[in-house]
Symmetry: C2
Subunit: 160 residues, 2 copies
DNA sequence: GGTGAAAAGCTTCGTGT
DNA sequence: ACACGAAGCTTTTCACC
């Protein structure tokens, strides 16, 4: 299922729309060297194939009053399926949690990425929310001092 | 500069376009209870204010042959501005690196999020690229076993 | 698989309230 | 500030190569 045959034009299309989700089909067709009709057909096929996921609008964190980005390592006491499941369902209810990944490591380890207005919000989140979830044993916080990179565009260079 | 006054309608608009970047102004206007003209005006103002950053298309990692997501903790030998600067410029050249954050911790610590086609690619990346950057002292790898959450939508509930 | 033209829809102004 | 209506452009769909 993964990796359909994508030719050079498909890659060009993906590359363009990854960077600009608002590009018109006319401009896109021009950039990839196609006429509008086949270009929009290809885009539709890429959507149907599930290669194109969705289109979103990205907002400015700081302007919205969310200057803090925080990574949180969470360890659970036991790695029972029920414990993991409960944690995952609980954590999913917080919109402040942008990412949650189950990662390899010593114990059952989750890595969270959260955004917060300020420290007092974070303290409350930690004590009243995260720490209240059943089975959480240890929490380690890493504050982001500076975001060097924050991309949504995936690399395409590995595609043959 | 952060947090302009956003009323309930502005928040509704942001909430909608965060989830669907392709929504038509007609439909958006309808959802937020406005006629098309003032709705598009508000969107433009939110863009001009820098609150709306940009529109992008998200692609499917697995379908593109990038099933591996990896978090990498990188420590540098010295935290000289020149060393940090060199590292950041080097790391920015790799499209496989989606995120790079300077985070608090013991030493100068970067947390990277990278995507890879497979393990052999990652081994090459680690040995031939990341390890070759001047000043890198230690690297710790965390493989993502499962992505529980991966959102781009920011929370808006904290806005008054 | 690519090209070209016509119809339908959306966006964007200007104007009025 | 919002609503209405006209002009311009984009997408879509069709027939054809």
């Amino acid at each position: 299922m993964p990796i359909k045959k994508l030719d050079r034009i498909d890659r060009k299309i993906l590359d363009e729309i990854q960077r600009d989700g608002n590009i018109s089909n006319l401009e896109l067709a021009d950039k990839v060297g196609l006429s509008p009709s086949p270009c929009s057909r290809r885009v539709r096929q890429l959507e149907d194939a599930g290669i194109i996921d969705k289109q979103v609008t990205l907002l400015n964190q700081s302007e919205l009053g969310l200057p803090l980005t925080i990574f949180i390592h969470v360890s659970l006491e036991k790695q029972l399926p029920k414990t993991l499941d409960n944690f995952e369902r609980s954590i999913s209810t917080y919109n402040e949690v942008l990412e949650c990944s189950l990662i390899t490591g010593s114990d059952a380890d989750y890595l969270l990425k959260v955004v917060m207005p300020d420290m007092s919000y974070y303290e409350k989140f930690l004590l009243k929310e995260l720490n209240q979830i059943e089975g959480v044993s240890s929490i380690r916080t890493s504050f982001v001092m500076r975001q060097v990179l924050n991309r949504t565009a995936l690399p395409l260079s590995h595609i043959k």
